[in-house]
Amino acid sequence: MTTKIKITINEKQIEVAEGSSIVDAAVCAGVIIPTLCFHKDLCVAGNCRVCVVEIAGQKRLSAACATPCEEGMEILTNSLKVRNARKQIIELLLSEHNADCTLCYKNGNCELQKLASDYKIMTQDFIQLAPLRKYQIDHYSPSMIKDDSKCIRCQRCVRTCAEIQGVSALTAAYKGDRMKIATFFEKPMNDVVCTNCGQCINHCPTGALVERNYIEEVWDALANKDKFVIVQTAPAVRVGLGEELGFEPGTRVTGKMVAALKRLGFDAVMDTDFSADLTIMEEGSELLMRLKKVLVDHDPNVKLPLATSCSPAWIKYIEHMYPDYLDHLSTCKSPQQMFGALVKTYYAKHFNLNPENIVSVSIMPCTAKKFEANRPEMHDSGYRDVDYVLTTRELAIMIKQAGIDFLKLDDRSFDQIMGASTGAGVIFGATGGVMEAALRTAYELVTGREVPFENLNIMPVRGMEGVREASILIENPLPDWSFLEGIELKCAVAHGLVNVKSLMDSIVSGESQYHFIEIMACPGGCLGGGGQPIPTNPEIRRKRALAIYAEDQGMPLRKSHQNPEILKIYSEFLTEPLGEVSHHLLHTHYTPRERF
C-alpha cells in the first residue's frame, strides 16, 4: 500500500498518495489546474509553465505537473500571483504562435486556443514573433502537415515519437530562442524515418501537426454526377467517431455511421471488416504455407515468424529500421488496400461499372493509411486502388458540415457485396485482434475444431500490455496438416512501436522464437490510431477496446471463414486463397529505406 500524505489545496485539506504530482492531487480536491505540455501518455516535461501554482513558504512558483506533493504542503492554485503569472505565460506563448485561429485546421479543438479563451487573453503586450520568423510549412507528406509557426515547443510530439513509438523522427534542434522541433537536417517529414503514424498529431496541443485532409476532394467527388463514390470504413472508426459527435468514449455508432455516410451521398457504403476477413483467409493460408515450407520442406528462403502487414506505419518502420527482415512480413496487403484493389475490379465487374468512374474512399483511424494509399505499389486494379483516405476526425467534420444531427440518426446497415463481416473482422481494430482472428480460422482449418478458448475469446492476446505472448498446442490435426501434430504454435503481439522495437530486437538476437507475430504501430492498435478523435489517453483507449470486443461478441458470425460474402468472392472471383488473382490483387512487396 502506498503511504498517504496530507496536503492543502486552496485551503482544502486532502489526503493523497505519496509521490503524486500536484496536478493529480488537485483533481482529488476538485480543482482543475490548466496544463499544456503535460500529457498522460508521456513523461513530464514541465516546459510550458502554464500549470504554475504557489506553494506556501516558497518564493518562486512551481510547475504543478513536475512537482510531487510533500507532507503538509499548502498549495494555492488561484492566488493573485498565480493568476497574473499564468495569464502572462499564456500571453507569451501566444506571442510566438501564429494565432490566426480562424484559418487554422485545429480551430475549435486547440488546447492553446481554449486557454486563451478561458483566461480571456484580449491584449497583445508582447512583440508578435511568428510573423517575424520565416516559417515554412512542410506539406510534402501525403499524411501530415507540420507548421512550425503554430508550434509552442512543448515537445509533446518529440516525447510521443520517442516514448510511444521509439522512432524519434522529431527532435528539439538548436537552442534558446532558435530552438525548434525538427527532423534530421530539417528534411521534410516525408523524407525521414517518420512512419506517418500520426501519434504526434494526436498529442499536439495546437495546429502545428495536423493530418493532411482530403475533405474538399471527397466533397467534389460526391458532387460529381459522373462518379460512383464508394466508401469503406475501418473497424476502429465505429468505436471512435461518436466521441467527435457528442457520445461518450466507448460508444459504438456503427449503424449511425453508415446512415450518416449514406446521407453524405456515398453511392455505396461498405465495410473494411469484409476485407479484414479476407486478410485472415489470405494471411492464415500464408502462415500455414510457410509452416509447411519450413517444417516439412526445410526451405531456407521462407522466413518465420510471419509478421502481420495490416499496419502501414509498422510497414514503414520495418522498412527503415529492420530492412533485412522484410521477408518476414506477410505479403498480404492491408485490408484497406485489398478492399481498394477489389472495388475497381470485382465490385465494378459485378455491378457493371466502369472502374474509371469509381472513386474509392476509405475512412480510417489512421494517418499512415494516406501514405499507404499513395504508395506506387497500390495500383494493382489498373487504377489508384484507394483514391482518398479520410481519418475518423475528417469524417466527423464532414458530418458536421452537412448539418446531420448524428444523435438522432436511425441505424442503417452496410451495402452488399463487400459489406458483410464477422466478429473476427471487427477485432482488427484492437491490438491482438488480427492474431485472435487468424487463430480462430487457422486452428479450425487445421484441426476441424474451434479454438480451445471459451466462447472463441482468446484472452491471452487481449489487453494493453506492450508485448503479449500466447501459444496453442496443435493436436489431432486433419490429415492434410498431419505435419503440425504436437506443434506448439507460438505467437506474440506488440503495439506501440517502442514495444515493437523490443520484440524485434529479441527476434533479431535469436532470444525469442515465434511462428507468428502481430504488430500494430499505435498504442492499443487502430483504436488508438493517429486519425482517431483527440484527446486520447489510456482510459479512452481502454473504453474503445471494450467497445470493439462488445461488437465482436454481438455478431452472429465470429470467424472470418464463415463470412458469406467471403465465400462468395472466392467462388466467383478469387477461386482460392493465395491463388493467382489473389496474388495479383491482394499481395505486395516492400522497399528497404534509410534509417534517418
Binding site: L170, A173, Y174, K175, A182, T183, F184, V193, R595
Partner: protein, 163 residues
C-alpha cells in the same frame, strides 16, 4: 587523416557505444573534419544505435559543433559586449575586407570561414578571436591583417596549426 567511417569507428571504440559517448564522438569528428556532414551524423547514429534526429538535435545545440561545411581555418570572433566596446566591429570589417567574405560565409578556395561566437572569456584582453583552437587577443585591424597574412602565407603548405 582517416576516412570518416573509420574515424567514427575508432572514436566509438575509444569512448564506447553508449548514448553518453555521443558528444566526445561528435567533437572527435569535428576536430578532423571541421564540421559534421549528414553522412557522418547518420553513421554516428548507426554506430551508437541512436535516432539520427537525436544526433542532429545534439549537434545543432552546441555552438562549436558545426553542421555545415566549413573552411580549413575557422575564424570565430567574439560578439559579446566587452569586445564590441573595444573595437570588435573594426576588426571584423578588416577581416571581411581582407578575405572578401561576410559572417557565416566561407572563402571560395575553402580556406577560411568566418563566424561570430559568444564570450570567449578574454574580456580583459578584448577584442578576441579564435582561429580553429588558437586564441588571438588585443586585436586591432592592423594586428588581425598580420595574423591572417601569416595564415595566407602558409596556405597550401603541409603544416596545420590546429591543436
Amino acid at each position: 587523416m582517416v576516412a570518416v567511417l573509420e574515424l567514427i569507428d575508432n572514436l566509438a571504440g575509444q569512448y564506447g557505444r553508449d548514448r553518453s559517448s555521443l558528444l566526445p564522438i561528435l567533437q572527435g569528428v569535428v576536430k578532423q573534419e571541421n564540421y559534421l556532414s549528414e553522412y557522418a551524423m547518420i553513421e554516428i547514429a548507426r554506430a551508437l544505435n541512436l535516432p539520427a534526429a537525436e544526433v542532429y538535435g545534439t549537434a545543432t545545440f552546441y555552438s562549436f559543433l558545426e553542421y555545415k561545411k566549413m573552411g580549413k581555418y575557422l575564424i570565430r570572433i567574439c560578439k559579446t559586449i566587452t569586445c564590441s566596446m573595444k573595437g570588435k566591429n573594426q576588426v571584423l570589417m578588416a577581416i571581411e575586407d581582407m578575405l572578401k567574405i561576410k559572417v557565416g560565409e566561407t572563402t571560395p578556395d575553402g580556406m577560411f570561414s568566418l563566424l561570430q561566437t559568444n564570450c570567449l572569456g578574454f574580456c580583459h584582453m578584448a577584442p578576441a578571436m579564435l582561429i580553429n583552437f588558437d586564441v588571438y587577443t588585443d586585436l586591432t585591424p592592423e594586428k588581425v591583417r598580420e595574423i591572417l597574412s601569416g595564415y595566407l602565407n602558409k596556405k597550401g603548405g603541409a603544416d596545420d596549426t590546429r591543436i
